[in-house]
Every structure is written in structure tokens, then in C-alpha cells.
Subunit: 469 residues, 4 copies
Amino acid sequence: MKRYKVFVGGVSKDSIDSYVSSIDFDRKLAKYVAMVMLAHLKNLVNSHLITIETAKKISYELIKIIETEGRRLYEWIEKREEKFEDVFEALEIYLFSVVGEDAGRIAIGRSRNDHISAVLRLSIRDHMIKLLLKLLDLREAFIDKSNKYRETLFPFFTHAQLAQCGSATLYFLTYEYAFSNVWKILLELLELVNQNPLGSGASAGTSVPLNKDVFAKLLCFDSTPLPPYYATGSRLFMLSVASIFTILMAEIGRFVEDMMIMNNIVPHGLEVPREHISTSSIMPHKRNLVTLEIARAKVSRAIGLLTALLSSYKSVPYGYNLDFQEMNIYFYELVKDLDSTLEIITDFIKGLEINSDAINNYLSDKPCWSSDIIEYISINTNIPVRNLYARLAEALQEYWRNNTDPLKSFLKSYGLELADVWKIVKQKPIEKELDVLMNLARERIARDYERVKQINTVLMQCSEELIKI
Amino acid sequence: MKRYKVFVGGVSKDSIDSYVSSIDFDRKLAKYVAMVMLAHLKNLVNSHLITIETAKKISYELIKIIETEGRRLYEWIEKREEKFEDVFEALEIYLFSVVGEDAGRIAIGRSRNDHISAVLRLSIRDHMIKLLLKLLDLREAFIDKSNKYRETLFPFFTHAQLAQCGSATLYFLTYEYAFSNVWKILLELLELVNQNPLGSGASAGTSVPLNKDVFAKLLCFDSTPLPPYYATGSRLFMLSVASIFTILMAEIGRFVEDMMIMNNIVPHGLEVPREHISTSSIMPHKRNLVTLEIARAKVSRAIGLLTALLSSYKSVPYGYNLDFQEMNIYFYELVKDLDSTLEIITDFIKGLEINSDAINNYLSDKPCWSSDIIEYISINTNIPVRNLYARLAEALQEYWRNNTDPLKSFLKSYGLELADVWKIVKQKPIEKELDVLMNLARERIARDYERVKQINTVLMQCSEELIKI
Amino acid sequence: MKRYKVFVGGVSKDSIDSYVSSIDFDRKLAKYVAMVMLAHLKNLVNSHLITIETAKKISYELIKIIETEGRRLYEWIEKREEKFEDVFEALEIYLFSVVGEDAGRIAIGRSRNDHISAVLRLSIRDHMIKLLLKLLDLREAFIDKSNKYRETLFPFFTHAQLAQCGSATLYFLTYEYAFSNVWKILLELLELVNQNPLGSGASAGTSVPLNKDVFAKLLCFDSTPLPPYYATGSRLFMLSVASIFTILMAEIGRFVEDMMIMNNIVPHGLEVPREHISTSSIMPHKRNLVTLEIARAKVSRAIGLLTALLSSYKSVPYGYNLDFQEMNIYFYELVKDLDSTLEIITDFIKGLEINSDAINNYLSDKPCWSSDIIEYISINTNIPVRNLYARLAEALQEYWRNNTDPLKSFLKSYGLELADVWKIVKQKPIEKELDVLMNLARERIARDYERVKQINTVLMQCSEELIKI
Amino acid sequence: MKRYKVFVGGVSKDSIDSYVSSIDFDRKLAKYVAMVMLAHLKNLVNSHLITIETAKKISYELIKIIETEGRRLYEWIEKREEKFEDVFEALEIYLFSVVGEDAGRIAIGRSRNDHISAVLRLSIRDHMIKLLLKLLDLREAFIDKSNKYRETLFPFFTHAQLAQCGSATLYFLTYEYAFSNVWKILLELLELVNQNPLGSGASAGTSVPLNKDVFAKLLCFDSTPLPPYYATGSRLFMLSVASIFTILMAEIGRFVEDMMIMNNIVPHGLEVPREHISTSSIMPHKRNLVTLEIARAKVSRAIGLLTALLSSYKSVPYGYNLDFQEMNIYFYELVKDLDSTLEIITDFIKGLEINSDAINNYLSDKPCWSSDIIEYISINTNIPVRNLYARLAEALQEYWRNNTDPLKSFLKSYGLELADVWKIVKQKPIEKELDVLMNLARERIARDYERVKQINTVLMQCSEELIKI
């Protein structure tokens, strides 16, 4: 069989074929391409559009491709001198080479446009499940630290400056909670990803009646029918996932900023795992937080990739456009960066230790309790907080100039000493709710693991059904 | 009462105060600021931290501000010569001016950081509900056209070129479906928006015990406790909503491209509502689709605003940063653009008419049925589609050179004539499923209207409870 | 005279007219619109296409508009109930109302497309010159600090950590130099901005012969002829300027990060001007660097605006598109943010003081001299630096654990003491080149002021020529 | 020799080392790394910090690396089991393995921070020169078409709709002119790229006196001294170039839109080179402009990459940050995309043919002459253009409804017939200036080729001087 473009008088030129071909990128999709084609094939058999004999030969090849994660196909491709447009063209010509002219029957009732949409959905679904698990792993790592540092005082910031103090537990819980929210949105997006685009033809349907339930059973897609132009022409599922991935990266960006600040202002406060540190080639005193710096840059890249996706998408008319082929590349770069960054940050958190003494030492002369003490006195004296605020503000002006007397006398006038402030900080209601917050987090995590497990069970069943001959 | 910065020796300078002040922007938040303060006040009364008498005086003022959508406060602000930092500072000083020193009691158990988070959540919740209704209105407009043009043939594109033909119904259903998916994500995000940040202090909690159930009852917030650093330092809710708003704009961008192409290639195919057209000041033959051009640009602006939000957010450490104040501006610019663009596009769709004759005339000599005819013949002759494709490709090569004979003889060899192809197009399974798709869409829309109605009922109850004295 | 769209059967609708109208935004362009129209008018007079008598009447009005910075026109506009498309439509109808039907003669030989391009070029030229002066002011402020803190030791960072130490002069020179490079690019871009688009019709020329030299003389445009499609359809000049403005903002972003780090890690090291500081409403110990936080957010907004501009521009075909009207808004938002931010940062730098004692105190126990000492010993002993690096690395490992003995003995083995390291730091060649670098900077600044002065002189001459009757 | 991090107690872990290592990416920089090291070595020899004998051994290796474009080094790297941090670490350990402990002498007077800045400048300079030549090639291709289609009528657009008609020459000149402006900015930016960062140490200078003139002579750098913090910590040169590259891509994006529109609305108007076309796998009538679609997506990617660069850069403090290492990747992705896209578009333009008959046929019933005819009549009758516009607008309203009578009678009343309009279009002044515009373009191109030639001659001399032993 000839390449598609040759049928219509197209001509090849190496530099141009390389520019438009996605064959190298498609390697990671090859398995899913074979899965979708196998489901299609079984549907054609049901509709008597292909004989069982032919179907068996083709199935055999497709299953081999699935089992080898695409290698069987790509080994053949590498021997060819042609630069195929994409994996679909390569697969069809491969099947011709193995099965002969009957391979020309599977092109009925399908197009590359509905198939790539299905392929992407399967692949993204798998990636999302892996990422959901990694994110759960990270959330668990945060909760472990949360638990470990219950008694450790930690600085809390506003305006990138020390604001309040509290249990380190509250710090780690913060990220677990932020990530659990992202996790939830991603789980909900699985439904959007899981729509079935197959049977939609190139843009406005096919003449072949295909049974959506077959696709649902074999690929675990939802069986609700889609408008075919949407099925082939939409990348809403990809953009939605990409935008939440980017937001997840942005949250990681903030964590990096936290570590950078902590590392700079609290001497020895963080004990960063040694694998995450490099030094200068000429300044041996340096302990650079290199993994975090790389992660920080990748956050910006994620924003750039989302920009690229949105900017591409918004300016093409409906239906499939070849721009989508490039968008796949941008999306999978984002997936790859997110994947490696989640791993690195999880490793970082797991290895991170907090040095309580160093933090206490740092905080000892910082009035991170200013609002707490005002409230405490107000509750006990019925003086309006604003009045107390005014007086404390004055005392602290002097405190900044290394004169501690006004502060001491402010406290003394309410029967307090400087040492008391730390007790007051620890008596705040939130400090007593740590158990509640921890338990909520643990329940969330357990429930979320369970959810992924259930999804995986269902997907496994579809997979087994699919490769049954 | 003095401005906050004065307490700590701060100095004013007009150009600088203007640069950092959000007071002008905050006008749109003033009502929500008063609502949150009122809920806080009631909680303080419950905790006996403020007397009922004082609370009544303050409540009276806050309710007035709520009822006048902030005007009562802003009229006072405008008379002052000061450039307040923000609406919170202005409100406190205003209350001092009305109630006296006792106003200094409401500053207990709160900070601007938990309050602004609550204010934004209330305001965004209201905006989202309005936008969900507008989007439903747009979806309904698409369904109306979907229904009206059941018998109208419509061009479907791939690669920004004519690909297939089918009922115009399929075209309009496509957008309804795309938008219904966006709608669903937005509805789910309401849960994230609806978290209660109140009672979190500046970053690590307050010394005052506040009852979360009171906030839940008065402001319709969820009552699950949040880590206070998350509550005050996260804008995950804003970014998630912003990213889905931007994706919605991107979908609108594609609709604009569709209209531009249709308008250019199918003479008289679209009858665009006259309000949406302007002309040139020197070329009176021009009929520019000006609203769509503006919408198209605003899509790009949405991408830029999302970039601004993400790029700001990812590089600040946790906790509240004043950067968030600017982010509010970017977010509300996006809301405003989305709001007006939804309105314009809905107006456009409602007024849009399709000229069937013009489209039929345009399509009459275009082989948009090529895949359909191949499949049709294959089904009826059992010839592999790829063989038929090869033959039709050859015939069409000639057809492009204005020689129709090979095409005719191709068709004839299977007992077909050129006129038959249009019947075949109309017999495709998808054309028979139009009713199914239409009904699904109508059910979706009815169900979604019902959901918004329920939400509004609940919110109304909270509002009434809140302003009860 | 009627509104343009009415001539072709267009219909008004308030919400739609508001959506597409730029009349409010155009206020800031009104003066330039009148200037361009006046130059056009004089060209028409030269070509005998308008009588001197009519021209005088129209000139009178245009000059009034120029002199009132557009107010004369906008006062008239505000009285009208119509929502004009833009200032061009308003101006023509205004001239009709004053001059009568003869106003209909100025529409010859022009279009809104060549005129808006000329208007933007004039306006951007003026803005750029103002910004070049502001940037010079900022550079000078940096040089002043550079000069003032010659003897002050300053920390220099790599990987957001303390790396080396050196004269504070080097720090301030860094930014002056960075900004001088941006300055130079902007100056070169003036040439691109200064091209003459007038006489290009709507897209492919006008039937009226217009003399480019007249435009050159009256508007100070370059007189080289442009392809008319470029003249009317390009925004290359705007995008180039916007991208350099954004890069300038990014450099400011880095300065903000420097100040944030310095402020956090070197207690009392920076004495920030008090106008730039605010505090918390509940934590009176806070000294938030609020202007810098706002500036930091505006940097992200600049990136977003550039994204919006590029994303709009890249997806419209050549020729004028109404998207350009929105792009104007985004561009001028960027100008406004850059303008105010330059002012704020300049004010900040001018008021900033460095506390040498605090910095010395901070640095006293930090080995920011590690690379210097290695090089110093190597030069004096001929031991390879890498060997010394290895030994110092070991000594510093202990130093981190608060054991200074190994470090002392390392130094001692080369006849050095800890106190010597600071002398060695000050003996580095770069410290001796400070005068050279300072002089280069001062010469650059003087030369750049001179250049702007020359440009302003030329522009003044054109202006005078233009409003001569 | 050990890896740097080992000296300070660092520990390796595969996944982490892979995450932070740039060794694979650095392959394309290896040649320049060796060049910079060679220049550094010669400077050390001059300063007697290294013996001639040792220098010769090291030089030999460096020259080999230069001559093999880095392969000699990378073959050694591939045999090692270590994941080096970057090419600098690998090179030093390689030199140790060949030269022994004396290799430890070249680490004096340098850091990776000043060296990578120099390496990037050399590499970017080379890339820019190649791209300047490619862009010249593209400009020449446009001028060739400009010349070929002097007599061909071409449609010009505004608002993505047909506006005016004119010689196709004007169309092709437009892009040559746009690109010549970009070309000029890039040439000017070479000066910024060409600054010499060597001798700046890690951030605040080195203790070793190095002669800037040596670097100037051997690497063709400018010899003006830079503040060392700028030299090592600035990526202004990279961002400026990246932003102009992105703008160049945006201009290409617009060209793609032009071709898409032309291809859709003027049947057979464009004869696109066959290598640039592919078809559908199921719709053999499709002729997809696949190269342009890919190019269009890459334009969006360029915007995304610029966003990533700016967003990274703006949020790191001054001095070198490891984020810069990731930024290199983003920048070179942009270079690669620009490079291949320029090649593809040049190939497209060279092969593109315009079908005059098809365009004439298309234009024959379109009033793209409306403004021209109004001006023509006004000039000849002294009737104000606005009056003529009003009348023609009315006539065209009917013309749209297929009633040509009013138009004919409008023309007739001024002694014109429909056929005359085309003559009038051709008589426009701009049509007579085609020669002038063409000559200006040709002169620009010739002059620009000459400039690149001169630069290349100078660079060649430095190269020869550098590798002289």
C-alpha cells in the first residue's frame, strides 16, 4: 500500500516530511492506537463488515503491538526508509504488509480524527491515574511530616515576611489540603476524558453503524453518544487537564519559594536531603537547592505550555486541525515535567527534616505573636483590640531599635512576661484542632486511594476483555 | 482612628498610596465585605466578645452598606481626602466615625487575609452563578438553532477546509455539548469556591474561638475546617475558575473562526444579525463582523490574564501576599470580558439565520461526501474501502481539473449517479440519531437550570438569615 | 452626517455598540488623531483637493482639539447620545456639525487604517520618549547609590543564596548597566515606530497622490515609502516595543526579589523609605514592602499583556483587523503599568539607604570569600585551585557544624588569619576598576540625556510647523 | 577528580541527578565550552598562572573538542557511568583524566557562571547569523514573487474580508518589508549578545587579573568591561533575542492565515507546492496545507516559550540561578522551531504559484474597488467623497441582492462603466511606485547580505587566532 498523500499526487521531500510527521512522538501512543484499532475491529466483526478470519490475523498483530508497548510496530518502522505522516499511516501500511489487501477493510467506519481522540483519551486516562497516585504519595508524605512535627514551632508568612508562629503540623497540612483539592478536580475531569469519540467519522459521522456499547465494554469509555464534530474536533478534555496540571505546578512553585525563604532566613532550620543539594565549582561553602531551582523553572515552563495550548486551540476553526498534532507534544511535555517534578518534590519532602532548636532560636526574638497577644489581652480585659494594637505598635517601634523595655512594660501592665507569649501562641484554638485536621486529612487520603483502586479494577476488566480473541 | 500604617510610623505620599491602594477596585467588593463583617460580628456576639448594643449599631451600618451595594460606604470615602489602602481600612475607620471607639472591637478574631478570601469567595460564587445562567442561555440558543435547521445541509471542516457535510443540527449541537462540559466543570468548582476561610487569623489562626457553623449558616459556606495557612494564603479557587473561564473563551474563539470562514467561503450562507455588523469609512461594500473580531481579541486577552495570574501566583511564598490584590484585578477583568462576550455571542446566535439555498448552492459541486460514498459502496459491494479510496482519489484528481467524467464513471460502475450522493449523506446513522442527541441536550439543559435554581434558593435563605437583626 | 454603519443598513443596539466601541479608550489618542488629520488636510490643500477656505475652518477646529488634548472633541461627544464606533467617526461627524457638508472632503485619500497606524506611532513615540527619560532618571538614581556606597560591603547571590561579597557599588552598577541596555534597544526601536503609514488607503493604496515629504515635515515621520498593506496591517512596531517593555518589567521583577531577600536575611541591612511600607491591621510588627509586592504582580501582568498581544496578532490575516483596537488597550495598559512602576522604583531607590554596619555584622561569619581566598592562595603558592578547593571544602564542612578550627588551621597553613580574608576581598581587580565602571556609566547617562534632548528639539520643530496656519 | 558535590558531602541518586543534569542538552554547547576554556587558558598563560607546557596539553584536548564539535568529549562521557551535572563538570574531570592534577589549575579566574554566559553568547551569535541568512533567503524569495507577479491582481483584506485589490507585488513586498524590519532589530541585538562576561567570577569578580582584550581578540567579544553581577546574572541578551524571534514567528502566523483564507475563498487561486500538501486517510478530496498548520501551531509554541522564559526570569533574584539552565532549553527549542519554520516557509514561497485567471475570475464580481472609485469620481467632479460614499453604499446594498442596476446607473452618472473600475484600480499612485518599492527592497537585501558577510569575515579571523597554538 502507498502512503496516503501519494494517492492524491502528493510528493515527498525529506525536510518537509520531517516537519509535518509525528511518527517519532507517536511511539508513546502506539499501544493505545492498537487498542483502539482492536476495539474497532471487533465492532466491524459484529457488524459483519470484516470476516472473522481476517479479523483474527489483524487482531494477532494488534495484540502483539499492545503487548510490546508498540515496539513490534516501531521496529518495522525503523527499517523502512519512509517518514510516515503518523503512527496511523504506519500501522495501516504495516498491516497491509502482513495481512495483505484485506487490511484495507479496517479503514471503514473510522478516521484518524476519531481514533486519535480516543487514543489520547486512553493515554491521558492512564497518565492521570498514575499522577493521581503520585499526588496521593506526595500528600501522604506531607501528612507524615505533619504528624512528626506536632511539637515543632514553625514560622508562618504574609507578604513574604514572618507573620505568625504555630505548629509545623499546620504548615504541612496546608499543602496536603491544597493538593487534595487539585486531586479532586482531576478525578472529576476523568469523566470528561472518558467520553467516547469513536464512530464519529472525520467530522460529521460515518456511514457505518457502530455499536457504542462495544467501545464502552472494551475501552471502558462512557457510552453516551457525542456530536461527531465535538468528538473529533474538541480538545476540551486535554485543555482542562492541562490547566489543572499547570495550577498544580504553580502550587509546587509556591512550596519552592517557601523552602528558599526558610533556607535563607532560618540558619540550619531545614535539613534538606543531601541528594537535593549541589555546590559551586569554585565556592565550596555553597549548598544550592538545585532540585528546587529546576522545579521552579519547570513551573514557568508549564505556564508556557498551557499558553501554547490555549493560543493554538483558540484560533483554529472547529473540526480536526493538524495543529492538534503539535498540541499533543506540548501536552505530553507538561505531563513529563509534572511527573518528574512530583517525584522529586515527594523525595524532597520525605527526606526533609526540621530542626526545632534552630527554628526556636530564630524565632526567640521575633514578635510573631503580636496579634495573638493583643487578642489574648483583649479577651481577658475587655479592652478593644484596636487600642491594644496602638499601644503594642508603639512598643514594637522601640523594640526594633533594640530597646525592649517598652514591650516588657506593655506586657507587664497586663500581668504578662515575654516568656508567656509562647504559651499563649500554643493555646490558640487552631492548635487544639490539629487532631481534627489530621484525621480529616487521613480520611481523605484513604478514601482517595480507594477510589483509584476501584477505577483500576474496572480498567483492568476492560483490558482483559479487549485482548480476548 | 488613624490609618494602619500611621501606627507604625508609616508616611503617606500620593503617588505611592495610589500605586498600592485597591480602594477604587474594591467598590465592587464592598457589599461582600460588609456581609462577611456582619457574619463575623454575629459570631463575636455569640462569643460575648461584643455587646448586643454595640453590635446593633454596627449591624445597622453594615446592613445599609449591603443594601446600597456599597454606595453608603463609598459616598463617605469620596468625601475623605485620604487614599485608603483598601476597603477594609476604610470600613473600619468609617465604623469608628459612626460608632466610636467600640468599633475597635470588631478587629478581634479576624484579619484582612481571612476576610478577603471570604469576600472573594462570595463574590466569585455570585458571578459564577450568573455566568452559569448566561451559559445556559447560550446553550439554549444553540439548541434552538439546532432544532430550526434540521433539514439544512451544513459544511463540516477539517484542517480549516471543507471535509464532510451533514445536518446543521450537528453543528449547533457541537457547541451546546462543548459548553455543557464547561458548565459541568464550573458547577463542580463551586464546591472549591465555597470553602470557609473565616476564623483563620492572618496565617496561623486566631486566639478567638469562632463557630464555623455560624459562618456556614449565614454565608452558606461549607463548614469543614481548613488549615488556616491555606485559608488565607491560597488562591487555588480563583485560579481554577480562571482557567476554566479561559478555556470557555478559547471555545468561543473557535466559534468565531467558524463564522469567519463560513462568511468568507459560502456567499450569503450566513445571515448575520445586523447589529453585529459595521462597515468601512471608505469602502461601503464592507460588512465587517465586528463583534466577533472584538470577541476574538478578548479570547487572547483571557489567555494573557490567566498567564498573569499563574505567573504571579507561582512565585510568591505561601500565606497572603499583596500580589493577590493585583490578581483580583486581573481575575475580574476576565470575568467582565467573559460576561460581555457571552452576552454578545448569545445575541449573535439568537439573531443568526442560515441560508439553506446558499449553502446548497455552494456545496453542490464540492465532493464533501467522498468518505461517505466510499463506505456506502464498500458496505454494498464488500470491496475494501482502501481500494475504493484509491480509485476515487484518481477520479477526483481529474474532477479538480474540471473533468467530471472519471467521477461519473466511478459512480456509475456501482450503479450510482452524482445526485445520489446527497441521499447517501442523509442516510448516515448520525443523521438518524439527531433526535437522540437533541433530547439528551434538552434534558441536560433542563436539569442544569434546575440545579442553579436550587442553589439560588439556598443562597437566598442564608442572605435572609444574615441580615436578620 | 450619519454614522458609517447606517449608510449600509446597520442597526444600533446599546450592549453591542458598547462592546465594539473604542470611543472611551480613544480619548487618550484624540490629540494625535487631530494632528494626523491636520497633516492630511494640509496635504490635501497642497494637492488642491480642498479649498484653503474650507481647510482653514477645519484647521481651526483641529488645532483646538490638539491644544485641549482632545477635550474640545470629547465634551461634544459626551453631549451626544450616540455611542460612536471610535474617535475617527466622532471627529468626522463633529466636523460636519461645525463646518457642514464640506467636512465630507477630508475623507479622501485616507482611511481609518492608515490614520490609526500614524496616530499610534505618534502617541507611542511620545510615550517612549517620556519612558526613556524616566528610565534615565532611574539609572541616575542607581548611579548615585553606586557612588554613595563605595565603601560598603554588599552580599552577592547565586542560586538565591549568598555567594560572594564586594562593594555595594557593583550591585547598583549592575542595574544601571542592565537598564542602559534596555534603553539602547528602545532608542533603536524609535526608528521602527517612526515610519510613515499615511497615504496607504485602507490596505492597498489610495487614488489620491499625497506627498510623503509633507508628512515627514509636519509629523517628523521618516519619509521612506512603505508597502501600504504593511503600513495599515502591521503592528510590528507595537509588538517590538511591548516586548522590550515587558523585558524591562522582568528586570524590575528581579530587583524586587533582591530587595525581598535582603530585607529578610540581613536584619536592618536595608533602610527602606517609609512611604513604601505598610503594616498589618492586626500584627503591628509587620513592615510589608507593599510597593514592591504590587510591582512584582505588575511584572506578571506585563507578561500576560504581551501574551495577549502576541496571541491576538499571530492569528489574524494581514491587513487591518478590529482585533487591533483591543490590542491598543492591552498595549496602553502595559505602558501605564510600566510608567507607574518606573516612578515607584525610582522613588524607592532614591530613598533607599544601606546600613553598612548591619551588613558587615551579617556577613562577618559567612564565608562569602571562599573562592577569593582559594585564588589568592593559589596565585601566591602555585598550588592548583582545585586542590585548595578540596581542602577548604573539608574545613567548611566543620565550620557549618560550628567548629572553626579546621578553617583557621587551613588559613594559618598559608600564613593567613580569618581577618585577612576581608582585605583579600577588597583587593580583587574588580574593586580597583570601580572608577572605570562608574565613569563609563556616567558617560552613558550623559550621552543618553543628550540624545533625548536632540530628539525633542526636532519633534518640537515639527509640532510648530504643524499648527502653523 | 571527584564530582563537585562530593567535595561538600553531596550524595547521588539517579532520578535526582537526571532531573538536575543538563549534560544531554549541553552537547550542542560543548564546542563553545571548549572555545571559551581555550581563550581562558591563553589568558592564564599570559598571566603566568599556568605553564606553557601544561597549557599545550590542555589546548590540544580543547582544540580536538572544538574540531569534533564536542564529540571527543561526549564519547568519553558516554562511557562513564556518572550523570555529570553539566558539560563544565564533565570537561574538567575529562581534562584531569588526560592531563592529571595540573588540570586543576584552569579552574582559577573563572566560574561556570561567567563561562556559561560566554558560551551562550557565542552559540546564540552563531545561530543568529545563520537565522539572519535564512531570513534574507526568505526575503529574497518574497521579492522574486513580487517581481514575477507584477501584472497579477491580488485581493487585499481588512477585517479578514476582501477590501481592496492591487498588484500581487504589493502583497509580497509587504512581507519582505516586515521581515526586513525584524532583520534589522536582530542585527542590532548582536551588539548586546556580543558583550564579554569573562573574568567576572561567580558573581562579584575574581582575584585573578585577566586581560579583556585577549577575550576580545580570540572570541570576537566587545572589550568594554561589564559589572560582574550583570555579566553572570543577566539573561537580557537571551530574552531580547527570544522576544524578537517570537515576533518573527507571529508574523509567519499571519502569513499562514493569509494562505488559509486565500486557499479557501479563491478557488484555484493559489498553486501550493505539492510537497506541502497531504490528504485525508478517508476523504481523498482533501488537500490539507499541512506544513502551514504545523507552522501555525509552532507560532503558539513560540509564544509559550517566551512566556516560560519571562516567567522564569522575572522571579529569580540577581546573580546566576539554576533556573537559567532550564531557560537554555526553552530558548533553544524556540531557535529550533524558528529555524525549521523559516526553512519550510521559504520552500513554500519559492514553490508557490499564483493563478491570475482564477483570481481575476473570483474578483470579477466583487466591489473591491469601492473606495478607489469614490476617490476617482471625487477628484474628477469635486463632489465630497462622503456624498459619493453615501450614494455608492445604497447602490451596493442592491448589488448584494443581485440587482446590479443601481450600481451601473451610479457609475453611468459619472460617465463610467463597470469595466472601467479595473483600469482605475491600476492607475493608483501606489501601482506606479512599484518600481521604487522593489528597488528599495533589493537594495536593502543586497546591503544586508553584505553586512553578514563582513561579520563572518571578522568571526573567522578570531576563530583562526583562537585555535593557533
